[in-house]
């Protein structure tokens, strides 16, 4: 009887359940806060870009997409130069999500005549060690045979990788270059000279400067010049809606 009373007393005196949950709850909130803090702080430069010059610590909340390098004639572009909306994509040839986004963008620019798509490089060295080499080769193809050849190479590369083609880089790259009209010897001479490396590096630097943290990283520029950051491979439906929103906001 006495034991029963003691037990009852101890249960009555028990701290409310919310007190028990206070510590784990606090840790969860703290963990999320740290995680979100890391995310919003812009963290350090993208993990994969350790070799690239990191921008000075700038908070992610500050939209840096207005630092996007202006589109010039030297950019590879699909769609009209005077399009109402331009989407500038920073991409990695060996990123599977870039492959999906590439398909979506091809569909979008084919379906409409007031959207332009600009392709720039953002190879993620630590995840895809060969991607920078492919980007350099792609620039060589463009330099040697023109914009159509560049797009032929890029479309062919993403189509192959997107379909799960595991052909080695040193076989697939010359194969696609040849199909685009560039001989293996000319391609090799260009790649070895390293003259297109600075173009790739400029794109990478601009991707980081505008807030890119992974690939595909894109910036939509609306009719008024307003910029919209696009992180990752958004579905085509989202991109189409965003294009319409950008037009409506003009």
């Amino acid at each position: 009887m006495q034991e029963t009373q003691q037990t009852a007393r101890s249960m009555t005196a028990a701290a409310p359940i919310w007190k028990d949950l206070l510590i784990p709850g606090s840790i969860m909130i703290a963990g999320l806060a740290i995680g979100l803090g890391l995310y919003f702080s812009g963290g350090p430069a993208p993990t994969q870009m350790a070799a690239a010059p990191a921008p000075a610590a700038q908070p992610q909340e500050v939209d840096r997409t207005d630092q996007v390098a202006p589109v010039t004639e030297s950019d590879y572009r699909k769609g009209p130069a005077n399009a109402a909306v331009t989407i500038i994509e920073y991409s990695d040839f060996d990123c599977p999500f870039c492959s999906r986004f590439h398909d979506s963008m091809n569909d979008i620019v084919e379906a409409t005549d007031d959207v332009a798509w600009v392709y720039r490089h953002f190879p993620l060295e630590q995840l895809h060690p060969q991607a920078e080499g492919v980007a350099i080769a792609a620039e060589c193809v463009g330099e040697l045979a023109g914009a159509d050849a560049f797009w032929s190479f890029a479309d062919g590369y993403f189509a192959a990788r997107g379909a799960g083609d595991g052909t080695a880089h040193n076989v697939l790259v010359p194969q696609l270059a040849t199909a685009a009209g560039v001989s293996s010897a000319a391609l090799e001479e260009c790649v070895v000279s390293g003259r297109t490396q600075s173009l790739v590096q400029e794109d990478m630097d601009n991707a980081i400067a505008t807030g890119g943290r992974g690939t595909p990283w894109s910036i939509l520029v609306g009719p008024t010049g307003k910029t919209y950051p696009i992180n990752g491979a958004l579905p085509a439906a989202s991109i189409e809606q965003l294009i319409q929103i950008a037009k409506d906001e003009a």
Binding site: D20, Y39, P46, T47, F101, G232, P235, Q244, I245
Partner: protein
């Protein structure tokens, strides 16, 4: 045993609702977080109609199919569901036990660890678009990515395992009758 407990708990609409809400919120955070700036910009814009805003936000749920591999999409959804079920079971158990023991609290921590680990895995799987990249860089161990066979998806798998473990343990505790043990 686990299935029996889940049926017993979720026959009550309140617990089912709590689990569903937690799972949907978790999934929403994981899918929308990479584009939070864009989403916020559009939601506050006065020149975008409410229909266009909602339509755009809902369309982003499609990124589960474009921004994830089948593998990472699977464990992302599993993490959201498991977290929802865990929260409901914890609530149910806490309401019955009135006080959590030290072991119960450890279990809760394990569940939290599972969720956090899962988030890191999700970030990395999408080419470093969420949390993982920043954290690794902060810790100065970016090289780790190159050596992980699944490039960080391991964290997602660990997250699922930890959440499954806590679910099992909570179910076991719920199944056990409440006894006043004699020390």
């Amino acid at each position: 045993m686990v299935w029996g407990v889940i049926k017993r708990v979720f026959v009550r609409p309140g617990y089912l609702g709590l689990a569903s809400l937690t799972a949907v919120l978790t999934l929403s955070v994981l899918l929308l977080l990479p584009n939070n700036a864009l989403v916020a910009d559009i939601l506050v814009s006065s020149s975008v109609t409410l229909t266009a805003k909602l339509s755009f936000v809902f369309s982003l749920y499609g990124s589960l199919g474009t921004n994830f591999t089948v593998f990472s999409a699977t464990y992302t959804v599993m993490i959201a569901i498991l977290l929802g079920v865990n929260v409901s079971l914890l609530w149910y158990y806490a309401a019955r036990a009135r006080k959590l023991s030290k072991a119960d609290r450890s279990l809760t921590f394990t569940g939290i660890g599972g969720f956090v680990s899962g988030m890191f895995g999700i970030g990395c799987a999408a080419c470093g678009t969420i949390l993982f990249a920043g954290l690794l860089n902060l810790l100065g161990i970016t090289w780790l990515l190159a050596y992980l066979p699944l490039h960080g998806a391991e964290f997602g798998v660990v997250g699922v395992a930890l959440l499954a473990l806590t679910l099992y343990s909570f179910a076991k505790r719920i199944n056990d009758p409440l006894l006043c043990k004699i020390d």
